[in-house]
Subunit: 326 residues, 2 copies
DNA sequence: TGCAGCGATGAAAGCGTTTACATAGTGGAT
DNA sequence: ATCCACTATGTAAACGCTTTCATCGCTGCA
C-alpha cells in the first residue's frame, strides 16, 4: 500500500479511500491510484482489512454434499443474492461426513465470515444451535428446534402426501421408502412418508440409506429381494433414485412397467429425457437466494427468528405408472 | 485470547502455543487451555493469524463450473490431498462466465490463500500467467503457454483419436462435434477432433457450444436439421452429451439406432444405467489429488514448472452402435 | 552444590489495513 | 478579502494474533 501511495504520489490514507471506493476522492486521483495499483499488482490484504473492520464481506456456505446438484443449485442462488449485496461466497463441502461438516464450519467460523449458510447439515440440533451463537446463521433443508437462526424448509408432510397420493392413485399399495440420513432433520421425510402411508391404511416399508447413489443402488437390491417386493419405490432424493434406477435396470426390472420410482428435489438430472424421473420439485435456486437474503438481513441486525416453508410440487414424469397386479 | 489465558490462569503466549499445538507445552496445561477455549467458544482469528504469519494454510480452488460433476470430483480429490497436508480448501465457482472467474480468483488472491488451483479456467493465457505471479498456481484441463505454473492435462489428441476410431470402426463417416468454449485451452479438443477426422479422410463437422447441457441440447437440434445430418455426435463433455440425448429423445431419434452419441469425462452421470453414455474416462479424483500435491510442492518452494499428461481411456457403453446406412 | 534443560512468563514489535481527527490547500461564490 | 465546501494529508491507535527474547523457577542429574 505504501508502494502504491508512493508511486502515485499520494498518501496512504488516500489509497485506502480509493480501494474502498469512497466518494470523497477526486476522479483524477482515483484513476491514478487504480492505475498504479493495477500496475503493481496490488490487491488489498483481506486479512488485514478484516482485522481492522471486523467484517469480511463474505458469507460462508457449507454444503451437505457438493456432488449433489441440488446443493450446487442452492449455491448458485446464494451466489446471486450475495453478489447483489456486494458480498462474496466461500463454499465448503461436508462430503457427507459429520466430521467433514464440523471441519468445514469451523474453518468458516475461523475465517470470520459475516454469516453462515448451512445447507442440510447432518449435525445435531444442539451442535448447530451452538455454532449459530458464533455468527448469523441460516439453515435450510432440515427441521429442528432452532434458536437464534433462520430456517427455510420444504413442507415434507405435503411432499410425502403428494407422492403417496400419486402412487396410490396408480394402484400401488406396497410402497417402499429409502430414507436419507439427516439427524438434525429428525428424519422428517421418513416420518412424513410413514404417516401418509398409515393415514391411507397402508403399511410403510422403510429401509435406511443416505442421500446418494450408492444407497439407492443398495436399497433397491434389498427391497427387490424381499418375498413381497414393493411395486413402487420412493427414494430419499433424486440422487438415490438414480441409484435405484441403475440397480433395477441391472436386474432387468422395467420402470415403470414393473416398478415405479419417485425421487425428491427435481434436480436437473431428473429432467434428462433419458431419465425422466417423477419427483417433487423444489425451487432450488430460489431457496438459496431467499436463504441468503434472510442471512443478509440477519447480518444487518435483525434478531427475531424467521422460519419459511416452501410448498413442494409433484412433477410426474415417466418413472411412475400403474401398478401391476402381482 | 486474553480471556482464555486469564481463565486458564496462564499467559497469552502459552495459549498461543497451545492453539498452534506446539510440542513445548505440558500436557497438563494444554488440556486446561483447550478445555477453557472450548468452554468460551474461543477460536483463533484466522485473519489475525494470517496477518502475523503470512500464511493461511488454505488453498483456493476455482472451479470452472460447480454444476459439472467433473469439477466437483476434482474438488473432492483436492480436498483429500489438502486434508492430508493439514490444509483447508476454499472453493469458488466461475459460473461459466469469464467475469465470474476473474472475481473468484481475485477473491482468493485477496484472502491470500497459500496456493491457487484453477480447474479449467476460460481466461486467456496472459491473464492466467499474470495471476500465477501472485501465488503458487496449478492449472488443470487447459492447454496453453504457461509460465511459472504447473499444469495437468488430458491428452486430447489421443482422446479424440479413441473416439473417432471407435465411431469409424462402427461404420460412421458423418461425425459431428459440439465444441466447448475454453479460450486458454486453444480449443485443443476441437482441433484434435478435426485432425483425427482429416487424418482418416473424413470431413469434420463442428459447431460451437459450451460445456453445458443447454449447448448440447441446442447443438443437437442444429445438427439434426442439416440436410445430411451426422450419424454420430461427439459432444464436448458429458454434460453437453446429456443435452444431446435429451434433444434426440424429444425428436424421436433413437440412440444408438439412429444416431450414436459420445461424451467426454466419464462423470458419474455417464455411468447411470438409464443413460449409459459412451465416453472418455478421466481419473477425476486423481487429477484433483495430483494437482493439489503439485501445488503443495510449489508452495513448499519448488520453482521449476511441471506439466503432467494423463492418458485417456475410452469407455464404451450403450449410446454408440453401428452406423445406419442412409 | 551447581548446572542443564524444560516449561512458562512478560514485554514488545510487527503483520497491513481502517478509522478518527486535526490540519491544510484550492477554488469558487459572496 | 472572506468564507465555505471539497479534497487531500499526516498521524496515531486499533484489530488479534505470532514471534522473539530475555528471564525465571523448577526438577533432576552429575
Amino acid at each position: 500500500m505504501d508502494d502504491v501511495a508512493a508511486k502515485a504520489g499520494v498518501s496512504r490514507a488516500l489509497v485506502s479511500l480509493v480501494m474502498r471506493d469512497s466518494p470523497r476522492v477526486s476522479s483524477h486521483n482515483r484513476e491514478k491510484v487504480l492505475a498504479v495499483a493495477a500496475d503493481l499488482g496490488y490487491r488489498p490484504n483481506m486479512a488485514a482489512r478484516n482485522l481492522a473492520t471486523g467484517e469480511t464481506k463474505t458469507i460462508g456456505v457449507m454444503l451437505n454434499d457438493i456432488h449433489n446438484p441440488f446443493f450446487t443449485a442452492i449455491a448458485e442462488g446464494a451466489s446471486t443474492a450475495a453478489g447483489e449485496a456486494g458480498m462474496q461466497l466461500v463454499m465448503s463441502s461436508g462430503w457427507l461426513r459429520e466430521a467433514g461438516e464440523t471441519e468445514a464450519i469451523e474453518m468458516l467460523l475461523g475465517m470470520r465470515t459475516d454469516g453462515l449458510l448451512l445447507a442440510s447439515p447432518r449435525l445435531s440440533d444442539v451442535t448447530i444451535n451452538e455454532f449459530a451463537t458464533q455468527a448469523p446463521t441460516v439453515i435450510l433443508g432440515v427441521w429442528g428446534r432452532w434458536e437464534n437462526l433462520d430456517s427455510i424448509n420444504n413442507d415434507e408432510q405435503h411432499g410425502a402426501e403428494l407422492i403417496v397420493d400419486h402412487l396410490v392413485g396408480l394402484g400401488h399399495t406396497r410402497i417402499a421408502h429409502i430414507a436419507g440420513n439427516l439427524p438434525a432433520g429428525g428424519q422428517q421425510r421418513r416420518a412424513a412418508f410413514a404417516e401418509a402411508m398409515v393415514a391411507r391404511g397402508l403399511a410403510p416399508i422403510i429401509i435406511d440409506g443416505d442421500f446418494n447413489e450408492e444407497s439407492g443402488y443398495e436399497g433397491a437390491g434389498v427391497l427387490m429381494s424381499l418375498n413381497e417386493p414393493p411395486t413402487a419405490i420412493f427414494a430419499g432424493n433424486d440422487l438415490s433414485a438414480i441409484g435405484v434406477l441403475s440397480r433395477l435396470h441391472e436386474m432387468g426390472i422395467r420402470v415403470p412397467d414393473d416398478v415405479s420410482v419417485v425421487g425428491y428435489d427435481d434436480t436437473n438430472i431428473a429432467g434428462i429425457s433419458a431419465v425422466s424421473l417423477t419427483t417433487v420439485h423444489q425451487p432450488r435456486e430460489e431457496i438459496g437466494f431467499i436463504a441468503t437474503q434472510m442471512l443478509l438481513e440477519r447480518i444487518a441486525g435483525r434478531t427475531d427468528d424467521r422460519h419459511e416453508d416452501l410448498e413442494p410440487r409433484l412433477v410426474v414424469r415417466q418413472t411412475t405408472g400403474p401398478a401391476t397386479n402381482s
